[in-house]
Amino acid sequence: MSRMPPRPGPIPAPPTSIPLLTLLACAALAAVAAPARAAEPIEIHIRDNRFVPDVVEVPANTKVRLLVINDGAEAEEFESYELNREKIVRPGGRITVFLPPLKPGEYPFFGEFHPETAQGRIVVKEPGK
């Protein structure tokens, strides 16, 4: 089998445009994807390395925001494998956890830094049930 001599290919667009395009894409995304204002957030406090309340009911298929407020003197990390969320809350600090529309069921969460005591769950229910 005879091999054809390699032909020079087209000169590709300068790859230096890649970072620029990424930045533009990010900016465009920020402009269009302004989150729709959800209802008031649901507050969860952290006291004595526990979540108060430790069971939170939310409606199914609805975007919900959780406001996790750390009233304690120790840092905590709000974490949930089921919800794919992981975020540190400083002592005296607060974080917002955005929940996507969820199917009915139970979604446990815990405090990574005090997992023995800091345990809770989100209970997602169909409205009216």
């Binding site: 790859p15 890649i18 994807a33 955005f98």
Partner: protein
Amino acid sequence: MAGAYLIMLREGFEAALIVGIVLAVLARLGRRDLARHVGLGVGAAVVASIAFAFAADGVSALFEGTGQEVLNGVILAIAAAMITYVVVWVRETRKGLKAHLTSQVEAGAAKALGIFLLVFLTVFREGFESVLFLWGLMLAGPSGSGGGITATVAGAVAGIATAVAIAWALFAGGRRIPLTAFFNGTMVLLVLLAAGMLASAAGFWVSVDWLPAIEYSVWDTSGILSERSPLGSFFAVMLGYNANPSLMEVLVWAGYLGAVLLWLTGDRLWRRSPQSARSASA
């Protein structure tokens, strides 16, 4: 201590892997002159990570308290773009086209900047994530899983050392691999790393409602192979394994890989068509 060790092992491994690949590729391309920029990138990233700890409150407060996720996503996306840039550059250099050999000299500054940015962003992202987590562990109190400041620092240092040792062992073994296999292997690995980074950028933006999840959980294999397990963590870093992704993350991952594959095969098709046209007319 175990918490600090594990987090630094994971974050450190991801950073060490990228740095190791870049150094190995430069060495084998005969471009050791660019290695200095890798060192600069690592150094700047370490300084920036520590500086970030002091600015963390301000950053978190941005975008209604979602600044950290937004920043994570942006850094990951740019780092993925830089990986793509390096893959394109390495491929063109390997082809050794005359036109490109000239432009390569001209665009030396861009290459240096690209490599610096790639290393800086990768190490900075892992770095500030680690700093925030370690800071949290130290403040987690005596009953917390950190076990105090000394234990946290000791665990962190041991974790970084293990990560670097594993990455070094991988690349020490890589020296004996034949050149073509080495470049094919590292390029595949880089493309997979970039795809995983873009998907997790999408994951960060989904988590703060910047992007729709479309479908919140496409599969959940955390019962079979958790991302927290050593093996799951390894696959997560190397191949972008996600135990519980949203449809958006899957689409971004597949979309990026599809685009890269199209670019690779499209280039080859273009190359072949004039030849087949000629052989047809002959």
